[in-house]
Amino acid sequence: MVELEVQVLSDRREGLLAELGRAVVANGFSLIRQRLTQDSHGAWLTMIVRGPSEQRFALEETLGTHNRVLSFEASLSGEDAVATAVFAKSTPVAVHAPSPEPPPIIEPSATPSAAVMPDIERVEHILPKLAQDYPSIYPWLVSLENSVDDAVRESSLMLAGRRTGAWVYKRDYALGAKLGLSDAIKRIGVPALRQLADIEQQGVHVHILNSPLCTPGVQSGCKFYGGYLEGLLGASVTPKKVFVRHLSCRSTGAPHCSLEISH
């Protein structure tokens, strides 16, 4: 079990606790106590929640992409905090140089869920920089790619992508009706992704032509685009959840990176 202190900023307080309380409960957490205040920036909701540690990432993602949330911070409290903080801490690695040698084999982790858990601390650290420099964000993404363990690189890029996509949606595309998946891809996904990369779109398939995150023979950064599209389109086609499948990547010798979007 883990106890989190979550602080959320919203533009208005009406219904905020009820809506976020539902998100907390839906992720297997229970609300211990809460405080709701108002200042010139908006409504601040502070919640102490307790729940399974493996659901922490899911809860933070839900809150981070919630349409009522302008910003949020989450920190651990209690003795579980130490364990999770140690888990989340990663060792910086050197920039990989192109090498003919096969990629290193990653040892299976002692904790099964650890392999898919992102490095939340590093992602959280880099998110404000992504927002500040958007859409010129590749230097930060490459930095993130190189600073996290191989085991958590893809999930960290995916989390960064989801948070960035959800933020771009709230900022630029939230006004209007909810769309069907194909319309959302055409009217939201494609123009938003074109700010980041040269792409081609055919139905539910998106091809990223020259991704700087996916260098041939080195490592794949495609997970960022997958997360980005999931965050971007997820709020637009609710209540359905959007999934992105990675079909091919330049890093494995394909001519371009291909993604398939579904819900």
């Binding site: 920036h41 927002a131 709230k170 209007g176 009706a177 009217r187």
Partner: protein, 247 residues
């Protein structure tokens, strides 16, 4: 004997510009209706959008267009019918925007909302025409009246579809231009359907107490000024909101 009607083209263009301005402001407000989380927010958004559309894009446009129309007679307007035409435009637009301003888009809703707004535009126009007091009687070509209503309904549907389904700069600009076309297309087709026949100089009762062009000009000026202020405030608020969203 039918009377010849001529137009001041500058005022005709101005009527289209006012209609586009009102539509732009209204649709900017309307696309935020799906984001409302409480009934109060939703009601406020619908009322403001309906007001900008009904009073700005339709009612103000109509009377600018009527000022552009020169039939060679002095015309005044019955205050009660003129006020009723404004209320009808506001109510019809609010109802239409409430129907389509739901989070989930459907063609049935679009048809209902477009019909509501199109018929609202038509009702406002023909009530406004009925409010005219002058030494003439008006008769209509039924086919053109129907055509004017069809134009209003179809173009309203197109404008609402663009506003709620497109994204990016064209979402607002294209929908406002099309909605302006809906209102002006309906109005000028309706005017083409009307024939003014001299009744031998008989003035209707209450002619002297009717609203005159200068009264209407001031009212229209007030509405257009309010629309501009509303648009600026909305733009400023959206910019602040946009920058306050953290990643």
């Amino acid at each position: 004997m039918p009377m010849h009607v001529s137009y001041n083209w500058l005022l005709v263009l101005l009527s289209y510009a006012v209609s586009v301005l009102g539509s732009f402001t209204s649709l900017q407000l309307a696309v935020a209706i799906p984001l409302a989380t409480t009934p109060r927010q939703r009601t406020a958004a619908v009322a403001m959008a309906g007001g900008a559309m009904g009073l700005g894009a339709i009612w103000a446009m109509h009377f600018i267009a009527m000022l552009a129309c020169d039939s060679g007679m002095h015309v005044t307007y019955a205050p009660s019918l003129t006020a009723l035409s404004a209320v009808v435009a506001f109510a019809a637009c609010s109802a239409g925007l409430m129907l389509v301003g739901d989070a989930l888009f459907s063609w049935l809703r679009l048809l209902a909302a477009g019909s509501c707004m199109g018929l609202g535009v038509g009702a406002m126009h023909y009530l406004g025409m009925a409010a005219m007091m002058m030494p003439a009687v008006i008769s209509y070509n039924a086919g053109l009246v129907v055509a004017s209503l069809v134009i209003a309904i179809v173009a309203s549907m197109a404008a609402l579809w663009l506003a709620f389904n497109l994204r990016g700069p064209w979402q607002m600009v294209a929908s406002a231009l099309v909605m302006g076309f809906a209102v002006c297309g309906m109005h000028y087709t309706g005017m083409t359907a009307a024939t003014f026949t001299d009744n031998g100089g008989q003035l209707p009762d209450g002619y002297a107490d009717g609203l005159r062009g200068d009264n209407l000009g001031l009212t229209v000026f007030g509405i257009v000024g309010t629309l501009l202020v509303l648009m600026l405030v909305l733009h400023y608020w959206r910019q602040r909101y946009r920058s306050s969203i953290s990643i």
